[in-house]
Assembly symmetry: D3
Homo-oligomer: 243 residues x 6
C-alpha cells in the first residue's frame, strides 16, 4: 500500500474517528469504551482503599494499570495469557507504560492512601491499542476521581492535567498520524507519544522497524503527534463535559 491511499482516504495528519463512551459498564468507578476507528478498548478505573507495600504509611496513593487483549481481538486468534500462565513481555511493557503515563498527571499526595487501578482490555485491535488505552484510561480515572470528590473522600482533585497518547509513523518517507494495523505493519518507524494537556512530553518511544530514522524525520513525527494529541485532549474535554 502507499501512504497516498490510506484506508478510507484518510489524510496523513488525520486521526481516525475517535469515540469515547463513558459509563460503559455498571460497576467500575470509571468505565470508558474508547474507539479509534476499529480499535476498541474498554478502560475501567477501580478505586481501592489500600496501597501497594512501597506506599504504605506514606500518605500517598498509587495509580497503576493492567492491559489485556481478548484472544480474538485480532485477525487470527492468539493464546489466552491466563491459560498460558503468564503475561507476555509486550503486555507488561504496555501496562507499565499506561501506569507511568497516568501517574505523570496525578498528585499522589492529594489522592491519599488509595489506589486507582486502570484495566485496559482490548475488545478489537486495529493498531494503536496502547495509545487508545492511555487516552481512554485518563477519562475513566477522571470519572473515578469525580466520584471520590462527590463522596467527600478527597477535598481536591489530584489530577493536575490531561494526558493523552497517539502513534505516528514513517511510511515510504511520509509521516502518518494514528496508524492503523496495516500501516503499522508496513511502517519503517513507529513512534508512540504521550503528552499532557499543556503540550509537554510524558513519554516518547520511537522504534525503527526497518531503516533507522533521521533527526529531521523525528522532528516531523513529533510535530504530527503534538497536533493529534491536541485534538485528543479536546475530545477528552468534550466527553467529560469540560468544554
Amino acid at each position: 500500500m502507499t501512504a497516498l491511499f490510506r484506508p478510507g482516504q484518510r489524510a496523513p495528519d488525520a486521526l481516525r474517528d475517535v469515540r469515547i463512551t463513558r459509563g460503559y459498564t455498571l460497576y467500575a468507578e470509571g468505565s470508558v469504551l474508547i474507539e479509534f476507528g476499529q480499535t476498541k478498548v474498554l478502560c475501567n478505573a477501580s478505586v481501592e482503599e489500600k496501597v501497594p507495600p512501597h506506599k504504605r504509611g506514606s500518605g500517598e496513593g498509587w495509580v497503576t494499570a493492567e492491559y489485556g487483549m481478548l484472544p480474538r481481538a485480532t485477525h487470527t486468534r492468539s493464546d489466552r495469557e491466563a491459560a498460558r500462565g503468564k503475561q507476555s513481555g509486550r503486555t507488561q511493557e504496555i501496562q507499565r507504560l499506561i501506569g507511568r503515563s497516568l501517574r505523570a498527571v496525578f498528585d499522589l499526595k492529594a489522592l491519599g492512601e488509595r489506589t486507582i487501578s486502570l484495566d485496559c482490555d482490548v475488545i478489537q485491535a486495529d493498531g494503536g491499542t496502547r495509545t487508545a488505552s492511555i487516552t481512554g484510561a485518563f477519562v475513566a480515572a477522571h470519572d473515578a476521581v469525580s466520584k471520590l470528590l462527590k463522596e467527600g473522600k478527597i477535598a481536591a482533585s489530584p489530577i493536575k492535567d490531561h494526558v493523552a497518547a497517539i502513534s505516528v509513523g514513517l511510511l515510504q518517507g511520509e509521516s502518518l498520524l494514528d496508524l492503523e494495523y496495516v500501516e503499522d505493519s508496513a511502517c519503517d518507524t513507529d513512534m508512540n507519544v504521550v503528552m499532557t494537556g499543556a503540550g509537554h512530553f510524558v513519554e516518547v518511544q520511537g522504534t525503527a522497524e526497518g531503516a533507522a530514522f533521521t533527526r529531521r524525520e523525528m522532528d516531523t513525527l513529533l510535530v504530527l503527534a503534538e497536533k493529534g494529541i491536541g485534538e485528543l485532549v479536546s475530545l477528552q474535554r468534550r466527553a467529560l463535559g469540560l468544554s
Copy 2:
C-alpha cells in the same frame, strides 16, 4: 429479599431480558454479544485448521472453549488471572462445561480436522455467566459453521441440534428461573441445566448451597429449566434468522 419481590418485579418463571447481537466484533468467524439483563458476555468463535494431539489423523475435528472475566466485570475488582499466572478452579470448571456442552451437538466427523474455539469473555457479571456463555457460544459457533459452509470447506453442517443453558434455583422454598447475582447469593440450591433443542439434557449440575434439596424440589426446578431453555432456543433461532 423475598422471592415475591424479584428485582424489577420479574415473575418467578420469567427470563431476564435476553439480547443476542451477532457480528459484535469484526475478525472472529462468529462473534456474539449475549446479554441476560445486566450480564454481558462476548462469545467469539475462531476456526483453526488444526486439531489437538488426541485428534490428529482421526479425521475428526474438535470444539473447545475458554472462559474469562474482565477484572472489573464484578462489583469489586478481582485479580486478573493472566497477572496471577493461573486460571482459577472455577474458571477451568466453567470452560470445561462450555466445551462439553457445545460438543454435545456437534458431529466432529462432519466438522473435519479443524478446531472451533469459543472464547467467552464476561464484560459485566450479574449472575448466570456460564449459562449465558453456552447459549451465546452456540450462536457464535453456528455463524462460524455457516462461514465454513459458504466457503465450501465443509459440505454439510456438523451441528446436529441447538444447545442452550439456564440457571434455576430455590429461594425460600420458591423456584426461580434465571438467577441474577443477588438471588444467586441468597439461594439454597442453584442448578445449571444445559439442554438441546429437542428438549434432552446435556448437563445437569445442581448444588445445595444451604439446605440439601428434595427429589420433589429437583423435579420442580427441572420443569422450570425446560421452560426457560425452550424460550432461549427460540431466541437463538430468531437471532439466527431460522424462524
Copy 3:
C-alpha cells in the same frame, strides 16, 4: 460389552464390594482407606487450628479437600501433577466437589475457628474415584471430629448428617449403579450424585457423553442413586460403629 454382562455378573443395581478401613495411617486425625472393587482411595483428615483468610475472625471453621491420583493408579502412567507444576482442571473440579459435599453436612459455627482438610489420594483407579473420595472422606472427617470431642476442644459435634456419593449411568438404554472404568468409558450418560443420610440431594452432576438424555432416563438414574447411597450410608454407619 453389554450391560447384561457387567464384569463379575454384577446386577445393574448392585454396588461393587465396598470396604472401609479406618486408621489406615498413623498420624492423620482421621485416616480411611475406601475401596469400591478395584478403586482404592486413601482419605486423610487433618485438623489445623487456623482458618483461611475469608473465615478469620468469623468464629466459624472451614472444611476443604484436595485430590490427587498417583501417577500409576491407572492402566497407563499419567504425568505427576507436582512435576508438571499444576493441577489439571479435572483435579480442581473434583477437589472442589469433595469440599462442597462435606461442608453441606457441617455446622461451621460448631466446628470453631479451625480447618479440617481432607486429602483424597487415589492409590488405584477403576472408576468412581470422586464418589469414593466423598464417601470415605466423610468417615475420616467423622473420626477427626470424634478426636476433637474426646480432647474437649469442641463440646458438640458439628456434623449434622451423613454424606455419601455414587455414580450412575446409562449404557445401551440400561441404568447402572456404581460404574467401573470400562462401563464409565462406554456410557452415554454419567451422573454423580451426592446425598445426605436423610436422603436429600447435595449435588447432582449429570453429563451426556454420547446422546443427550431424557427426563425419564434422568428419573430412573436418580432412583438408582438413592438406593446406592442408602446402602453406602449404612456401610459408613457400620464402619463407624454407629449401628
Copy 4:
C-alpha cells in the same frame, strides 16, 4: 533420648522390621509396597516404549524416578506439591538420587529404547523414605524387567546387580543403623549409603547436622551401612524368590 534406648529396644546395628509386598497395585508393571517399621513407600515401575530426547536413536533405554509424599504422611500436614505448583528442592534431590541409584545397576543398552519410570510415593513417613524408596524401587524394577523378559521384548535381563540403600547416623557418639524419625532429628550426622549386591558403593551422602564428623566416625558408619545393606539385599532376594 539416648541411643541406648532406641524405640522398641532396637539394637544399634539392627534394621527395623522390613516388609516387601509385591503386586501391591494391579496396573503397574512392577508394584511394591516397602515398609521399614512405620515408614511405608509405594514403589511402582512403569514401562513405556519411548525414551527422553537425549537417548533417542541411541539404542539405549532410560531408568528414571519420581518421588512424592502424601500431604499427611507426616505428623503434621505439609503442603501438596501439585497445589503449590512446584516440587521442593528436597523432592528433586531425592528423585534424582533414586534414578541414579537404579541406573547404576542397569545395562541401558540391554534395556533397549524404552523407559522404566519408578514412582516412589510415601504413604507414611517415619524416617528413611529415600533409602526405602531405592530398596523397594529395585524390586519393582525387577518385576517390570521379568515381565519384559516373559513377553519376549528383551532377550536378557539388563539388571546387572542388586541395589539397596540404608541410612546410618551418629547420636551422642553412638553409631546407629536405619534411623527412624525421632533419631534422625536428634542425630549429629546422618549418612545415606547406596550399595550394590556385590558390596560396592553407588552413592555415599553424609551430612553433619550438628558437629562435623571425623574420619574414624565415618569409617564406623560405613561398616554399619555395609552390614545393613547386606541384609536388605537378602530380603530383596527372598521377596523376589531368588533364594
Copy 5:
C-alpha cells in the same frame, strides 16, 4: 545534589570512563565485559545453528537477547529472578530493547538460518545498564560474526553498521550525558537513545519521571545523545581494531 557537581567533577556532556574488554570468558563466540564507570555488564554472544519457529525455512537468521542482573549487582540485594520463577516486566522490556537494537544493524538474510543470542548479565549496576548492554553486545556480536566468517560459514558479514546506546537526562534544568545511578534517581527526565554508526536513530525512549518535558528540552537531550553515541562508536571501533 546539583548537576554542577556531578560525581567526580564530570562535565555535563562527558561520558564516564568506558572500558571494553574482549575475550572476557573462554567459551562464548563473542565475550565482552563493558564498563561505564562502576557499571559492569558481561555480554556474551552465542551462535546456534537453529532459528526460532517463526524463521524456520525462511533462509533468514535471528538475533535475540536476554538480560539479567546478579542479585547483588545493586546497593541492596534484589530477588533472584530464577528463584522467583519469573522475569520482571523491567527485565523483559530491556531484553526486548537489546534484541531490537541489534537486529536493526543485522541483515538476517546474510546471517543464514542461525541464531546469535546475546546474554547481557549485569555484574555491577550504577545506572545505564541497558545502554551499556547494547553497546557491549554489538562488540560481542561482531566477534561472533568474525568467527563465522573465519570458519567460512558465511561469505560476507551480515552486520550493516554499528549500533550503540546512551542515556541522557534532565536534572534541575541541566542536560546530562550518561547518567549514573544517583543522577538517574534524581532526574526529571530520563531518555535512552540507540543510534547507528551513521548517526540515525534506532530507538528513542524518553520518560518524564517528574515534570513533563518540553520539545526544546528534548532537542537538547537528543543533541547530547548524538555526541555520546559518536564517542561510543569510536570506542567500539578501537576495541575491535577497526580504526
Copy 6:
C-alpha cells in the same frame, strides 16, 4: 584421555591454580571472585537485618545460599533459568549444599537475628563449581562478618571454623584431586567433600557415574580430599590476611 596426562601435566594430587580476589564488586558486604583454573565463581555475601519465618523471634540468625550459572558459562549455551521460570533440580541441590556447608561453621545465636545470603554465580565453568562456591562463599561470609564486627553490630564473630570443599574422582583406577570438566565427564566416581579447618567432615557426597566403587577406593579419595582441603584452607587464610 589417561590420568597420567592430566591437562597441563598436573599431578594427580595437585589442585589447579586457585586465586581468591576479595572486594570484587563494590556493594556486597563480602564479594569474592574465586578461580580454580578456568572455573570462575563470583561469591557475594549480603547481610539483611531480617530472618526467614522459621527463625523469627528465635534470637538466631540464618545463613543461606543461592547458586546460578550464566547461560554461556559453559561450552554450549544453556537455558537461562529465569526465562524458563524455574531452577533445575541440580541448581537447587547445589544451593542447598552451599547453605548447609556454611551453616556448619556458623554459630547462628552469635549472628543475631539477621541473614547472610551467599549468591554464588558461575561466570565460567570448567568443573568444580559447587566446591569453588563453598570455598569462595566462606571468604565472602568472613568479610561480611568482619564488617558487622567493625560496625559494632555483633560483639564476637559467629564463625567457628573455616569451611572449604573440593572434588576428587577415580579415573581409570587413579585417584585425582580437583577434577576439571574433561576429567569429571570421564570419571567413574566423583566425590565432593566439604571439611572444616579442623579437618572434620561436613559433607561427603560420592557418586559412581560408571562402576560402583570399593571401600578401599573410597578411602584413597578421602585422603586426597583431606590434602586438598588443607591447602584450600591455607589459601583462604592467606587471602583473608590471617596468616
